[in-house]
């Protein structure tokens, strides 16, 4: 299996390491022909505005939407969640895939960034979650299920073949969310 990581900006190398640890060959996706060879795609953490602009100029937006429509599993963490959301408060959606409304940097500035253990439905032991200037999910559509919450906010959500998390499992060497998404391929 080949696991794509959108490699425009952000911590794509950490995601590639997680995939490699799971025995999935990582592929850095920068152009549409990179995307054509992967079985799943991860959108990493980074700056959502930067990733959005680079994805548009690389001609990746429509190809990614087409692949997900035909069932390709996809995981988005933090900025990846924002990039995949249908509605972004005070900003423009990019891929418009997951029926949620997100608010960027909603926990405050970097001094308010934190880590914590969280329980995720379908995963046995607590997941170490690193929240870096993380978004908050304000609204969840009917076809989206919440897999985890923290302090009353949804932090892991699933809509068919798409999974989004507002935190960074990859920063804590956590592999189980990736494994869960790869299981859909």
């Amino acid at each position: 299996m080949k696991g794509g990581v959108l490699a425009l900006q952000g911590d794509f190398r950490e995601h590639a390491h997680v995939l490699a640890d799971l025995g999935i060959a990582p592929v850095e996706v920068r152009r549409p022909d990179d995307l054509a060879q992967v079985d799943l795609l991860v959108i990493p953490g980074g700056e959502s505005t930067t990733i959005g602009k680079l994805a548009a100029s690389a001609g990746l937006v429509e190809p990614i939407r087409e692949r997900t429509a035909s069932g390709m599993p996809m995981l988005g963490t933090c900025a990846g969640m924002i990039v995949m959301a249908k509605r972004v408060e005070g900003g423009e959606p990019l891929l418009s895939l997951v029926d949620i409304t997100v608010r960027r940097n909603a926990y405050g500035r970097q001094v308010d960034s934190f880590e914590s253990d969280v329980e995720v439905n379908g995963i046995d032991h607590p997941v170490r979650a690193v929240f870096i200037r993380a978004p908050i999910v304000e609204d969840v559509g009917p076809n989206v299920s919440v897999l985890a919450e923290h302090e009353g906010h949804p932090i892991v959500l699933e809509q068919g073949n798409l999974v989004v998390a507002s935190f960074h499992p990859e920063l804590a060497g956590e592999t189980r969310l990736h494994e869960y998404v790869a299981g859909k391929a």
Binding site: A7, L8, Q9, G10, D11, F12, R13, E14, R30, G45, G46, E47, T49, T50, K53, L54, S57, C78, A79, G90, G91, R104, N105, G108, R109, Q110, V111, D112, S113, F114, E115, S116, D117, V118, P126, V130, I132, R133, H150, H168, L171, A172
Partner: protein, 295 residues
């Protein structure tokens, strides 16, 4: 469950999110918007860009808080700001204001010629400049969560950033050839803690993100540094001292992502207008060098 703030993972984690990106110096809200619209992954809030600090002389200090707040209010990307080397009170103020990263920077006039800031004492993360591996590891020992080359700021000349990154690569390569009994003498030679020397010898890289900074002015400069193994780039005077800042900023962002793709680099290097005027390092003399500030 309990929130843990200010852990090293949280501090270095933000730097991980900046990788593959361009951090741009800005001096007001309008420039900050131009930078964000061009795809900057963060901005550095300043009163004057390094080229102007160099020209004006005098003592360069932390920017006015109103200036920093103006910039923080204008963009959603992270905002960094500079404190003088050793000036922990400036850093305390920046943390209180809520900047996302503090740059303990040689571009400002040092406040302490013997000591850098104890960065472990802060919740806000710090980035520090380094000319070689020893200097980088000394800053990490003080709690820095991100490293950048010092280069020579405000010159539009990439040669010093190249020199510093080459030194880093050479010394990391050297550490990997050592046997364990040589680590202590290597630590002595580098002037760095042996624990960090051992970590670098094992991993073959720094334990934190390392950006290029100091003299980058073109998309090709960004691609050069990325190919030399840095994780991302700072561009200071190079953008807003050029003829068309928005176009140049956008081109440098594309070049930093597609640094290994000469076709993209050629495309984005077309029709950028005049770059900033550059300086030959040799003409600056020892007195004119910013990189020798700090140790």
């Amino acid at each position: 469950m309990e929130r843990e703030t200010g852990t090293f993972r949280v501090k270095s984690g933000l730097a991980e999110m900046l990788k593959g990106g361009v951090i741009m110096d800005v001096t007001n809200a309008e420039q900050a918007k131009i930078a964000e619209d061009a795809g900057a992954c963060a901005v550095m809030a300043l009163e004057r860009v390094p080229a102007d600090i160099r020209r004006d002389g005098g003592v360069a200090r932390m920017a006015d808080v109103a200036k920093i707040e103006e910039i923080m209010g204008a963009v959603t990307v992270p905002v960094m700001a500079k404190a003088r080397i050793g000036h922990f009170a400036e850093a305390q103020i920046l943390q209180s204001v809520g900047v996302d990263y503090v740059d303990e920077s040689e571009v400002l006039t040092p406040a302490d010629e013997e000591h850098h800031i104890d960065k472990w004492a802060f919740t806000v993360p710090f980035v520090c400049g380094a000319r070689d591996l020893g200097e980088a590891l000394r800053r990490l020992a003080e709690g820095a969560a991100m490293i950048r080359t010092k280069g020579e700021a405000g010159t539009g000349n990439v040669v010093e950033a190249v020199r510093h990154q080459r030194a880093m690569l050479r010394q990391m390569g050297w550490l990997q050839t050592l046997r364990p009994e040589q680590y202590v003498s290597a630590a002595k030679e580098l002037g760095a803690p042996v624990e960090l020397v051992r970590d670098v010898a094992a991993a073959g890289k720094l334990p934190v993100v390392n950006f290029a900074a100091g003299g980058l002015a073109t998309p090709a400069d960004a691609a050069l540094m990325m190919q030399l193994g840095v994780d991302g780039v700072f561009v200071g005077s190079g953008i807003f001292k050029s003829e068309d800042p928005g176009v140049r900023a956008r081109a440098i962002v594309e070049a930093t992502t597609h640094f290994n793709d000469p076709d993209v680099l050629a495309k984005v290097s077309k029709g950028l207008g005049e770059p900033m005027h550059g300086l030959d390092i040799k003409e600056l003399g020892e007195e004119g060098l910013l990189q020798v500030r700090g140790w």
